[in-house]
Symmetry: C2
Subunit: 397 residues, 2 copies
Amino acid sequence: MDISLPAGFQWSALHCGIKPDANCADYVLVSCDAGTTGAGVYTRNRIFAAPVAWDRQRTPSADVRVVVINSGNANACTGQQGWQDVQAMAASAAAACQAQSEQALVMSTGIIGEYLPMEKILPAAGQAVAELGNDQDAFMAAASGILTTDQGPKVASTALEIDGQQVRLAGMAKGAGMIGPNMATMLAVVMTDATVGAEDLQVALRRAIEQSFNCISVEGHTSTNDTVLLLASGASGGSALSGEALEEFCQALDSVCVELAKQIPADGEGSSHLITIDVQGASSREEARQIAQTIANSNLVKAGVAGADPNWGRIISAVGYAGVEIDPDQVRVAINGVDLYQQGSPLAFDVAQVSASIADNVDTSIVVELNSGRAAARFWTSDLTADYVRFNSEFHT
Amino acid sequence: MDISLPAGFQWSALHCGIKPDANCADYVLVSCDAGTTGAGVYTRNRIFAAPVAWDRQRTPSADVRVVVINSGNANACTGQQGWQDVQAMAASAAAACQAQSEQALVMSTGIIGEYLPMEKILPAAGQAVAELGNDQDAFMAAASGILTTDQGPKVASTALEIDGQQVRLAGMAKGAGMIGPNMATMLAVVMTDATVGAEDLQVALRRAIEQSFNCISVEGHTSTNDTVLLLASGASGGSALSGEALEEFCQALDSVCVELAKQIPADGEGSSHLITIDVQGASSREEARQIAQTIANSNLVKAGVAGADPNWGRIISAVGYAGVEIDPDQVRVAINGVDLYQQGSPLAFDVAQVSASIADNVDTSIVVELNSGRAAARFWTSDLTADYVRFNSEFHT
């Protein structure tokens, strides 16, 4: 895998002792050159962790110098102590980078309701700065260091020319399409060497998330810690992007975010399929999205795919209870390109053939055509298997 | 079990050939004396079956003479043919009871997307009428005949004196707290010999359902066929109930509906716990209900209970993303009577003891106190086990 690494960033990862396995990194630094702008989008959960509160106060930012991330402990539901700890964690990382606390952003993921082991976290900053690197190994080490229950790192990147400048985007994400012991917290950092003003960066990130990280179903749970950060170093040179150049950047960002987001439901112990749900012909994108999300959150649909069952009934039922006005007689449902239901009645189809197309592929496509407008939405979800539940039942607090 | 059977009704059940097992009844009649009033509440799913469309047009009714129910085929997603079939099914049952089609209500449950085998259903009416009985055996045969994937019949009854008249209520329900192959369709018929006008009956049923059948979580799915009917024969004598007497009747109806509804999540192949969720101290009942429902639909919470894990983090997170404004610092969470979380921070508790209290009992209690008002809501759900998913993955269309 060849990653288009943006200039202006350095990465490092080490084991400071939060995770029991000494071979697993649990402390990650992303160091940014002076002048890096930053944007953030956070969980909508009303119970949110201290690092979310910290970052929210600081983004959009015209001046980010470091992002410090720990895995293994979410610093969530930790009250006033948690707030003091995130301040100290930011201060120690900033100091090691010769920056101010206000220039540091923080992300945490892991178990909730336990205080951070600050005696392990605070000393890690100095060593992490000493080990910073700007090559692919350093980037991948960081991408691995932010993981918890994930089966492997999730990265995506792209390079393009904008206004004659070579611009690169690279991102890393964390999260698994499973019933996660730590509630499948989703973290992502996308870095670019494009030059983008902080406010534009924030708008670009919101738009990208709307069709990527907000279109994956991880059990319907939005965790206490979900965070996506976007950092722009400006190291590619040139003045701040605007107009058509900014739009080109946004499209590249959209695709990187989609590539990252899809890897989350694709991961997950016991999960065997990545399901892509396309709802088309809706009156509005919001309605299309609502129906796609309802299908994506349906245990019935997810268990059906796990069993290679082309069960259009479960899909059409989810369409019906999504809370959107639809005309049942206009709806068409297809699985893996085969129409199964149309105009209020089932179609004759080769059950064995469609079942085999589900069983033999990791990717399953569900298309719902509403025939009532021109809006569409795409959602991704994992299937629901017995192994998947077993893993999460057996995890203990 | 001794059931307080209301006067004015007769029941029968037989095997007409929809289900493969000849020992399983799949055709049920409830015959009502002249003057029976009827009320109905139906699925909110926009994709609804032909029998739902039929009954909706006829309730509330001042004149119900027969309810005909088949199991094994839902007559859903069957288009114009399905509508013709429900008309013929009603007509045949009504004719056998010397009544008019308009006096017949219909319920169907089972697989969707297949046409009813009318050649088996139409001839069944005559035999079913010949076998009508008004004793407990007949009632229980009917209660068994409406089942599909249920592990056993679900009945509840009560008797009370209202205005000097002995009044009885008895109900039967169908539905399982599982990811059902036929989408866990929920059917119920509650019968009473109280004298209640049709409009009052409809109001009473709506109220009862709001705190019973609408407070159980069966995967969040509302099926194409969900139906609850309430029939009042007036055989207890007296004039139509009103004022305080009507309120007494409503309270008895509420309790019968709660008893029936609770049996649905308690049933379910592979499910091992009935979880009762009480949300208290909310600003409004609607907000309490929304939070309770969000917890009840959380796979994380459900899998945690299956694993006897006192995981307050999953509960507090669901509270947070329920879409209700709450003050996190005021929330208290208890499992099986033990406080686990309060004022934004976890409490010290004996994990092994709380875990044992979950493992050793079928019933699990989750209490969430919001401390922001005086409204409350109670919800019931089942846990989520690996067996439960396996069963539903292995079912094929």
